[in-house]
Subunit: 348 residues, 2 copies
């Protein structure tokens, strides 16, 4: 068979470009990695040859020789929650600006899945890892640390955490929400929240609520605590069931905006006036929340900022620096229409 087919099926390699430009393969490599080290005329020749044959450095070979993959991984629960989608989007953008590509994995709130996702990413040679939350199997973090690659936990920032975190203090945030409601005069407060098992962020939120209530000698009555999937529907069901209990709560703290929106919609459908008959709070401030009627009182989290900060932190680590992870973000309470001072007790 002929040595040189006119149409080589296989993609061109650096040697081909080198031959075409009549230079050595080393020069080709230099043109793409440290162009200042090669004389301009030669540089142009190589560039032209490369463009003509559509060549670009092959990542696998490059990664092998350079011992750097230029890939980082993001491990999140799901893209179906706007909150994580925003984080990932921001990270991707920030990394892309630095020539780093993002590997994505969704573990669907399954700890085993998260573990194997991380392993798969490590095998792919990710240079850094961002992972949502810190309630994972201990092996997961051990695996990461064994590889000596930088990582960050996002969307959470527990005081005293052994991990670098880019997030906020979930417990404190919910303490603040609960205190606000208490200051508004509420004493019977219901809670609709995501499953706490295996989810540190959510467990912290519930603890924060309990903290604030305890400060006033109050607690969450069992019949006022609903725990389940974060969905509008679960918010609806829960509020309907809860309002049949006695005493009826006058305020409702929801674990996120989806739950709160469900609660709000159902409460209104039941003919209740919000916030007069029932005050409602959410968490995250997703896009639709301010559009509700009345607009949802919630806590605003800047998830794009979390993504950007996580990327900046990891990027800094990759440059050999040892950045101290920034202090926690402080979510801001956005008081809108679903809360307000409780009217003085009627009757009595």
């Amino acid at each position: 068979m002929s040595e040189r087919e006119p149409k080589p099926k296989r993609p061109p390699r650096a040697v081909d470009v080198a031959a075409a430009a009549e230079v050595s393969i080393a020069t080709v490599s230099r043109v793409f990695n440290s162009p200042e080290k090669v004389a301009p005329p030669i540089r142009e020749r190589v560039l032209a040859a490369a463009k003509a044959m559509g060549w670009m450095p092959h990542a696998a070979g490059s990664a092998l020789a350079r011992r750097r993959s230029s890939i980082v991984g993001a491990v999140i629960p799901t893209l179906d929650n706007e909150v994580f989608a925003a984080q990932v989007g921001a990270m991707q953008t920030a990394f892309a600006e630095r020539g780093i590509t993002l590997l994505l994995s969704c573990f669907n709130y399954n700890q085993d899945q998260a573990r194997s996702d991380v392993q798969a990413m490590l095998a792919r040679g990710v240079e850094a890892l961002a992972i949502v939350g810190e309630s994972h199997k201990p092996d997961l973090f051990a695996d990461i640390q064994a590889r000596h690659i930088p990582y960050v936990v996002t969307y959470s920032h527990r005081p005293g955490s052994p991990h670098p975190c880019i997030g906020f203090d979930n417990r404190q945030a919910f303490r603040k929400i609960a205190r606000h409601l208490l200051d508004d005069g509420h004493e019977v407060i219901g809670v609709i929240i995501q499953p706490t098992t295996g989810n540190d962020r959510v467990a912290d939120r519930l603890d924060g609520i309990r903290d604030a209530l305890a400060e006033r000698g109050l607690g969450i009555r069992p019949q006022h605590l609903y725990e389940g999937e974060w969905s509008i529907d679960f918010g609806r069901q829960s509020v309907r069931a809860m309002l049949e209990t006695a005493p009826r709560p006058t305020a409702l703290i929801c674990g996120n905006d989806y739950l709160a929106i469900g609660a709000l919609l159902e409460a209104r459908a039941m003919g209740l006036a919000v916030p007069r008959d029932l005050a409602i709070t959410g968490f995250d401030d997703i896009a639709i929340s301010r559009q509700m009627d009345p607009p949802l009182t919630t806590m605003h989290i800047d998830n794009h900022e979390i993504g950007r900060r996580a990327a900046a932190y990891l990027l800094s680590c990759l440059q050999g620096e040892s950045p101290t992870p920034a202090p926690p973000l402080v979510p801001t309470l956005v008081l809108r229409g679903t809360t307000g001072a409780l009217a003085p007790a009627r009757g009595a």
Copy 2:
């Protein structure tokens, strides 16, 4: 210096595992790639050694030798739209089941960005590519085809497209919406839609509306066409401005649900009864749409299904098959509360 440090900083390689298990490196490789070809006792020994030192095949080396990266790329406009987030999430899951990892890139509706995203992915050696829409720079597809890797265009399915598509016919879908409104008795129909320039999907949608109107000898009046970013706010502004024109539209077709939700909220805020004073339609059927008051009439697209199908198609190609891309999906018109037959003309 000593040959065997107790704490080797650098991660273990196949040779290390081979030494520990007292086999050759080839056997180690076989255990992980074609386990049936190695005797069970030896297999166990190798597995144990690998687990003990936390070894797993290094992707770059593997990719180089195997000439396969086991990476595919997804190129989408943005994760901030639930529609694309769902597609990516579903693809990621489907690929993960087959040991393939997903590289993600968001081009933010910028054609140049899309082009360079694709190039970056090709350089990374992606084995396949999924990309949203087909109105990209021609070079983009040329680059992909030059690499001879399989690809699909998602979220769009133009008849006669030169590309394999997993999506639906945008033009036909909007024709159907418009016809429905016409059948309901509307004759003055407004449109709020995303920017059409550089976006085939949106341009098709507008054409579909025009088709249906033309069939009845009607058209879109210039003062009834608002084109801008897909946001709730743009929906609000547009409807407010449009309702000051004469004749006032009795129905509004929106390019997606975000725009429609904005229109609905603003119309109600202005004291209009929906659908009596103004009928409104959306597109995509995002999660919140059915929760609106009244619930939004829209077209349902199963974006998880699009993601799954795209993954299945690419997976099939990677196995050497030549699947015919499935026929277009057919979006279903979901009639909810924001449309209804127009009351017979008052007065006259």
